[in-house]
């Protein structure tokens, strides 16, 4: 079936972007990105520059894909990355408006591709447990209550896609930071570094992300259903660390 598209085109970070209209023929069983592939094949054959967009695993785990579809990061299916959206869910839409993540800290590189290396730098500021290869103790010497391990896992499933930033009116990365803090700092082996939340939040601000003011939009669009309770956990740790200084 035919889909009508309005796609954001932008040659580079410092050029003016605009919406470009296209029509594409794609089966409703194809995925959203397969529909984009079909468009690009057509554009190449027509001698035009195809639309640049990020993707890789196409099974919802690598965190590469990042389209805003009709105003919603990742599209209408909740708890789902862009690559796992299927055209069967979009057949009743009059038109599809496709845009990049928009945030100061995620500058557009080209078309729908943005630079998310700010996330890497936030992790570098403290999003790890400092353990040298080879110096670990036997794994079962440290039992961890199942519910603690499960809660850490829930936070650890963050794929670093940046949808939380894209949807936030403040373009805040607080959910991303909190997910890493809630993963590492609640596990016994991660509790030594009390400064982790403060270091990571500072890095977040330095990168140009905004602060959290509890819109909770991030939770709504997170493809991995990371809960804002992670932010509560982080704030509690932050408070405790400050008190102990």
């Amino acid at each position: 079936m035919i889909f009508k598209l309005n796609i954001w085109r932008q040659a580079g970070p410092n050029t003016q972007g605009f919406f470009e209209a296209h029509e594409v023929d794609a089966s409703e069983d194809s995925s959203f990105l397969e529909m984009m592939d079909a468009l690009n094949e057509q554009l190449i054959l027509d001698g035009q520059d195809p639309v640049a967009f990020d993707f890789d695993c196409r099974e919802g785990i690598c965190g590469s894909c990042n389209l805003v579809i009709n105003g919603t990061p990742h599209g209408k299916q909740q708890a789902t990355t862009t690559c796992q959206q299927y055209m069967r869910d979009y057949k009743d839409e009059d038109a599809l408006w496709i845009e990049p993540w928009r945030a100061t800290a995620f500058p557009v590189i080209k078309d729908l591709i943005v630079d998310r290396t700010a996330f890497d730098r936030i992790i570098q500021s403290g999003g790890y447990i400092p353990i040298r290869t080879g110096s670990a103790c036997e794994a079962n010497t440290l039992p961890i209550e199942k519910d603690v391990a499960d809660a850490a896992f829930d936070a650890a499933t963050c794929i670093g896609c940046g949808a939380c930033v894209a949807v936030c009116p403040n373009a805040s990365a607080t959910l991303f930071v909190a997910a890493k803090v809630a993963h590492l700092s609640t596990l016994p082996q991660g509790q030594l570094d009390k400064k982790r939340p403060a270091k990571m939040l500072k890095a977040m601000e330095d990168e140009g992300f905004g602060s959290c003011s509890n819109y909770r939009e991030c939770e709504r669009v997170c493809p991995k259903e990371i809960k804002v309770s992670a932010i509560t956990t982080m704030n509690r740790l932050l408070y405790k660390a400050n008190k102990s200084v």
Binding site: M35, D120, D150
Partner: protein
């Protein structure tokens, strides 16, 4: 190219002492001198990130490169099921020796004893390291680590983090690497792809890269180069690999003299979501762990194939894996399960949509598991996988059985490496899926993560140090001519891609055609005439590719079509070598099923008299005429037996 003997440098002596002895024999670099050496690591998946982090911690200057926008996105992230380790936490008789034996048997006796034993030995340290990093493995209510079972083993030794084990292990390695970036010991470049090696005679002294954002070519010199760039399943176009996975780094290294081992050993994973249409861009894997509780079946009667599965009564269902392999049942190794599924579908008992006139699918049914364990338990174990299945197929696997069909998933073949993981190019190492070393002709489930991390955390830091200790640090000014030559070769190649004489076909279109040829000739069943025809077809299509490939946009900017074309060009050459290797190996073993060499029941007939070797191919300067070297395998501790899972 020179003639040489393949020397594995595998140590002698008692198997259990070999790695210890070898580590002692390896030279070390003093802490004060380490910062004088630069190590390049290409690829930052499990093997690359863990190697880079460990080398950085030791004090070397490390430069890392990945084509993704962050190291955290490497395809290791998609590994679902788990990681094996011989911890014997279940007290079910596991040991390093048993893991060693299962792995070497699982690989159908086509791997080196020394390497496989080392892998089994290191498995336990990987779990310790990962737990210390904060990898949230599944735990029992007691607080201790949990295990599950995987194919090809009768003990429960697989550690897991729901269906996201690869993700959690990769994030652990990525975070360790991030810490070194922050310390300044690692300089990392994302969106940057290796184009070629910089060679000084027979030695690798660096790489040429293309910045994928600006299109700029850059040179990077180093004292040694480590390739951890993954496998080449995407040669088939449709595979479970990420779209970006490619063989370009290892293939270009091959063309610089690195031998390519066992290229035809490609793993077909039995439980993937069947193909549904023409436009499809990739196949999705459903973790092997599902076979712990899911029962595989097909209708007994062809007439039932169009019915809804719920309408087919129990007595008309053929639980064929349980029937054919009663002692391992649904948990037979991947190659065995895949061939059984193919057999059933070839008989005309497949279900689901038709591709090329054949129904390609069988059921994977959880009804019994849900009945005995309850919905919540099943959801707890496999929730995310069920959700993924439902998203893709619009069917609810809690109510109706999943449909599955085999798909290309992993490549056991790769660059030939010795016991030190060094290729036949001096100073060029290969780790993880990029090398051929440990899985023989078939990899067992939950062994890929184990091997990638064993290579990266524990083996490469030792062997790379040994290599560096024997050399003075390279001086950049000595290599200007070599850099210029490599740079020029990369420019010429890009120019040829951008300026095909009759640009009219997209790289993806070529890739799809190549994939179909390869899947039919060098997929689950291989046969001489089909392979010969495929070689002819690949050569013809490859010529057409260089005439007609169409790329729009410029080379000096972000250009995803150019990136793809470069990778497809390499797949075209590698695909031919895969077929030539499959032709040469006149036996069936593991994943490699030559139709001429199967028993009446369709089981692999191995020929140890003539083929107990690693086939290592050398580029001769002419793609179609590679030179074969044989590394004969010696089994001093296990006796190669007929693999029997019945």
């Amino acid at each position: 190219m020179s003639e040489f003997e393949l020397e594995s440098h595998a140590p002698k002596g008692p198997l259990q002492d070999r790695w210890k002895q070898h580590k002692f024999n390896c030279r070390v670099v003093s802490p004060a001198n380490r910062k004088k050496y630069t190590v390049i690591v290409v690829g930052t998946g499990l093997a690359g990130a863990s190697a880079a982090a460990s080398l950085g911690e030791m004090g070397y200057k490390v430069k890392t490169f990945c084509f993704q926008d962050s190291p955290r996105r490497a395809h290791s992230i998609a590994a679902q099921g788990g990681i094996n380790a011989a911890k014997n936490y279940q007290n079910d008789g596991d040991s390093v020796w048993r893991l060693f034996y299962d792995t070497i048997k699982g690989g159908d006796f086509r791997a080196r004893e020394s390497n496989v034993f080392r892998l089994a030995e290191l498995s336990t340290s990987i779990i310790d390291q990962a737990v210390a990093q904060g990898v949230p493995f599944a735990r029992e209510y007691s607080g201790y680590l949990a295990n599950r079972s995987f194919g090809g083993a009768q003990v429960s030794r697989t550690f897991y983090a729901r269906g996201q084990t690869g993700q959690q292990l990769l994030l652990g390695a990525y975070q360790a690497m991030s810490r070194q970036v922050a310390c300044g010991s690692i300089k990392h470049r994302s969106r940057c792809e290796m184009q070629d090696l910089i060679m000084d005679g027979d030695r690798a002294v660096g790489i040429i890269t293309r910045d994928l954002v600006t299109g700029e070519l850059e040179s990077h010199l180093a004292d040694c180069v480590v390739l951890c760039t993954g496998g080449y399943s995407n040669a088939f176009f449709l595979s479970t690999n990420a779209k970006g996975c490619n063989a370009s780094a290892i293939w270009r290294a091959h063309k610089q003299g690195a031998l390519f081992a066992n290229p035809c050993f490609t793993q077909i994973h039995p439980t993937c979501i069947p193909q549904h249409g023409e436009l499809q861009s990739k196949l999705t894997l459903m973790s092997e762990s599902l076979r712990n509780d899911g029962r595989v079946w097909a209708p007994k009667n062809k007439a039932d194939c169009d019915k809804r599965p719920e309408e087919i009564p129990e007595q008309d269902r053929d639980y064929f894996l349980e029937r054919m392999y009663p002692s391992f049942g649904n948990l037979v190794p991947r190659d065995i399960a895949s061939r059984a599924v193919k057999l059933i579908c070839d008989e005309g008992r497949g279900v689901g949509s038709e591709i090329d006139g054949k129904k390609l699918g069988v059921y994977l049914d959880f009804a019994d598991a849900i009945k005995t364990q309850g919905l919540d338990t099943v959801r707890e174990k496999y929730g995310n996988l069920f959700q993924m299945y439902q998203r893709i197929t619009a069917e609810n696997p809690y109510q109706t059985p999943m449909r599955i069909y085999p798909a290309v998933h992993y490549t056991m073949g790769g660059l030939w490496v010795d016991y030190n993981l060094m290729t036949t190019v001096d100073g060029l190492f290969a780790g993880g899926e990029a090398n051929f070393s440990d899985h023989g002709a078939n990899r067992l489930g939950a062994s890929a993560l184990m091997q990638g991390l064993a290579d990266g955390y524990f083996i490469l830091p030792t062997t790379v140090s040994d290599y560096l200790a024997r050399r003075k640090p390279v001086k950049a000014e000595h290599y200007q001519n070599q850099v210029d030559a490599a740079m020029q070769a990369s420019k010429t190649r890009i120019k040829a891609l951008m300026n095909a004489p009759d640009p009219s076909v997209t790289p993806d279109d070529f890739h799809r055609q190549l994939g179909q040829i390869l899947w039919h000739a060098c997929g689950m069943a291989r046969e001489k005439d089909t392979l010969l025809t495929a070689v002819e077809k690949i050569r013809a299509l490859r010529d057409e590719f260089w005439q007609k490939v169409k790329i729009t946009g410029e080379a000096e900017q972000l250009n995803q079509t150019l990136e793809r074309a470069g990778r497809v060009a390499d797949f075209f050459e590698l695909a031919e070598l895969m077929c030539l290797d499959a032709l040469e190996r006149e036996e069936s073993c593991g994943c490699h099923a030559r139709e001429e060499h199967l028993t009446d029941d369709g089981e692999a007939k191995r020929n140890d008299m003539d083929y107990s070797y690693v086939a290592a191919w050398q580029y001769s300067g002419e793609i179609s005429q590679p030179t074969l070297y044989r590394e004969y395998l010696h089994f001093d501790f296990v006796r190669p037996s007929i693999r029997n899972y019945q």
